[in-house]
């Protein structure tokens, strides 16, 4: 089982995107950071109680699923869209959604386009090996429009092509668009069109056939979400685990019940996961939130209580 392998190895191997600003990128000294990275660290925290016992393996969009299926990585947190065929056919299981995204378009302001419907005949930059290709083809076919795809190999290249004017529009997940635009010299010259042409639930995936491990990943994610809902933060977690009276919080933090044992982990697994980088909200704010250069609003990724889609099943 994966959990045993991970424990025996003493570290978690997490497949990530080697360069998506805000989500996953190494800095000058090779330290990884970002939204996806934080989830990996949280999982490592849940398993080992130490968020640093994790190794990040860069995967390309083409090699990612193979890397997972062949056991090269334990968990894939690489802005991968959860789709039916991937879940059913590719030998992997998604463990939830850590970011609700949708495919959008970014265009130059001076193009004078305000809606994706006006993109007939446009040249569009698109990353190969992703669901966006299929979405784009479908969207233009449905709307009876034509386009010229310019395939690019990575986000960095997509950006470059788009900025240099090699394409009229750049399409990728809206979060990626925002992150990309934020880093432009003059972000105001570019607009992200209002149409979101697909649902892109991005989530971590594990190998098929290991439901225990899938559960660990799934519930680590849920724990982060639930922690935000219950107001558990990295700042108050110690205090809460000592003194909280809320039974759900107590179960979550392992001061009550045997949830950890059911997963094959320590009782304070969730507490460990949360204390690595904080709850979902904290992670979001620190990596891609409005205070960061990426500047993403919570939008769909707000708690269900706030009109978003984040809804952690009960810890019981």
């Amino acid at each position: 089982a994966t959990l045993d392998d991970v424990k025996a190895r003493g570290e978690l191997i997490c497949g990530v995107n080697p360069g998506l600003t805000g989500f996953a990128a190494p800095d000058a000294s090779g330290n990884w950071s970002g939204f996806d990275i934080s989830l990996c660290r949280a999982i490592a925290g849940a398993v080992f109680g130490d968020g640093n016992k994790v190794r990040f393996v860069p995967t390309t969009s083409e090699t990612r699923f193979t890397a997972l299926a062949s056991g090269e990585v334990d968990v894939l947190v690489r802005n991968s869209t959860w789709t039916f065929s991937r879940d059913a056919d590719l030998g992997l299981d998604f463990a939830g959604v850590n970011y609700y995204d949708g495919q959008g378009f970014m265009v130059h302001q001076d193009l004078g386009v305000t809606s994706a419907k006006e993109l007939d005949g446009a040249t569009i930059c698109i990353q190969t090996g992703t669901t966006t290709e299929l979405n784009l083809a479908d969207y233009f076919a449905v709307n009876g429009m034509s386009y010229t795809p310019v395939a690019v190999q990575s986000n960095a290249e997509g950006e470059q092509q788009y900025l240099a004017g090699a394409c009229d529009a750049y399409t990728t997940d809206a979060s990626g668009l925002a992150a990309t635009r934020a880093a432009f010299a003059t972000p105001a010259d570019h607009i992200i069109l209002p149409e979101i042409i697909s649902k892109e639930p991005l989530g971590p995936a594990t190998r098929q056939g290991d439901s225990q491990w899938n559960d660990i990943v799934r519930w680590t994610l849920n724990a982060l979400v639930a922690a935000e809902e219950y107001g558990v933060t990295s700042a108050n977690i110690e205090e809460l685990s000592a003194s909280s009276q809320n039974p759900e919080v107590r179960r979550l933090l392992g001061t009550e019940g045997t949830l950890g044992e059911m997963l094959g982990l320590d009782a304070d697994w969730a507490a460990n996961a949360i204390s690595v980088g904080g709850n979902y909200g904290e992670i979001f704010a620190a990596t891609i939130g409005e205070q960061t250069p990426i500047g993403l609003a919570r939008g769909l990724n707000a708690q269900w209580t706030q009109g978003g889609l984040l809804y952690a099943p009960p810890f019981r």
Binding site: A25, T66, S70
Partner: protein, 438 residues
């Protein structure tokens, strides 16, 4: 001299003429220009075209180079400085990114306090190569050359010293077994050597390593593969693949020249297959398929897998180079060895290979150059090669987003220096060999 009948008028010069300078216009700069640049209208046209091309290239590139900025923290700052100094429309290079990140291009994410290790490994590499590079070096140094792969491995990856030592011991034991049996059962001996070594590696190596490691924990801080990147990665893959592929290439070349049909066919098929497919498909095999081909549950480092595939790739090319060297040996050498009673192995080892390999060195160097350049392709299986991997990583940082030319130029220059130097060296070798072989 007169026009009269020569037979009747013998001629003897009484005063020798001394050397005179050539007539004006036939010497000096004028002549040089006329001969080298403006000989005939075609040459004149070519010269003018060449000058125009150089002019436009320089006009386009020179300002950009001259306006380069070395001190800045971000690309934005660079642009600002250029705009301030040279006017708002000026373009200029932002070399600051190199200044900021050059260690990353060279070492990837190798821990900075351990940079001395790859550097030392590189220096030792040259020491290990010395017996090949300089014929005058004492032969005893070849022992170090044989040890180098283990030393290099240990320096780069670190960890307990017992790992490489135990693996090395396998070779030693295998060799010992061979030596022991050589005289008694000459044909069984190599087989026994292989078996002993394999048994050692598979059964005893691991436990003994752990045992020794617990008794005498000597070791370097271990560095994981995912920290490898940049030129350290390129060189590691290139050097490892060439070294490992040498024995295999030699075996393949010998097999291809063998008169045993099956062996020849197998070798030809392998070589032609490898040479017929692009390296990139082999790299995809390393990253996508190798796990299918190995027993369920085996799972090892992607760098190692890439090295395996690149080794197979290089072996096919080395085999062809060595085959050329073998073919250059006159038949008489084989016959003389036979007539002296040397058996096949002895003849190959003592007579044929030393000569054939020497002839092949330039070809091997060229193969290495090609391979070294091709290591940039590992980006397509997610490794951080210096050209695109590191460059993209640098570009993913908010500071240097949007920088294109400078990293490429920097990396390109380093590649150029390496490869140009090596190709010159191989040409020099070739000339030396030609001299020695008349």
């Amino acid at each position: 001299m007169s026009d009269t009948h020569a037979q009747t008028v013998p001629f003897v010069r009484d005063t020798m003429l001394s050397e005179a300078p050539p007539p004006a216009g036939q010497a000096g700069a004028v002549r040089w220009l006329r001969e080298n640049l403006f000989a005939g209208w075609l040459n004149t046209v070519l010269t003018v075209l060449g000058l125009v091309a150089v002019f436009f290239l320089l006009r386009g590139l020179l300002p950009w180079f001259l306006h380069g900025v070395w001190n800045a923290q971000t690309l934005g700052e660079c642009r600002q400085i250029i705009a301030e100094r040279w006017g708002p429309d000026a373009t200029g290079a932002c070399w600051a990114v190199i200044r900021d990140r050059w260690t990353q291009f060279l070492f990837g994410f190798y821990p900075s306090e351990l940079y001395w290790r790859p550097v030392l490994a590189l220096v030792l590499l040259f020491v290990a190569l010395a017996p090949v590079l300089f014929p005058a070096v004492p032969r005893r140094l070849t022992l170090f050359s044989l040890l180098y792969p283990f030393v290099g491995f240990w320096l780069l990856w670190g960890g307990s010293i017992w790992q490489p030592v135990m693996v090395l011991l396998g070779f030693v034991l295998g060799y010992g077994a061979w030596r022991l049996l050589r005289d008694r059962a000459p044909l069984l001996a190599p087989f026994a050597g292989v078996v002993v070594a394999l048994l050692w590696w598979l059964v005893l190596c691991g436990p003994l390593r752990d045992l020794f490691a617990s008794i005498l924990p000597i070791g370097l801080e271990s560095v994981r593969s995912d920290r490898f990147g940049g030129f350290v990665l390129s060189l590691t893959i290139g050097v490892a693949a060439i070294t490992l592929s040498l024995p295999m290439g030699i075996a393949l070349a010998l097999a291809r020249r063998s008169d045993m049909f099956l062996i020849k066919t197998l070798s030809v098929c392998f070589i032609e297959f490898i040479r017929g497919v692009p390296l990139i498909t082999l790299l995809f095999t390393a990253s996508l398929l190798l796990n299918y081909f190995l027993p369920p549950g085996t799972n090892f480092d992607i760098i190692l897998r890439v090295i395996i595939m690149v080794t197979l790739f290089a072996a096919a090319y080395i085999a062809e180079v060595v085959r050329g060297g073998l073919a250059a040996l006159p038949r008489g050498q084989y016959e003389a060895a036979d007539a002296l009673g040397l058996n096949y192995m002895q003849a190959q080892r003592l007579i044929v290979l030393p000569q054939a390999l020497k002839i092949s060195i330039p070809g091997i160097v060229s193969t290495f150059i090609g391979l070294f350049k091709d290591t940039t392709l590992v980006i397509f299986v997610g490794l951080l090669d210096p050209l695109k991997g590191i460059t993209d990583a640098v570009r993913a940082s908010t500071d240097w987003k949007g920088i294109y030319w400078e990293p490429y130029i920097f990396v390109g220059t380093i590649f150029f220096l390496f490869c140009f130097g090596m190709s010159r060296y191989s040409m020099h070798l070739e000339r030396r060999l030609k001299r020695e072989h008349r």
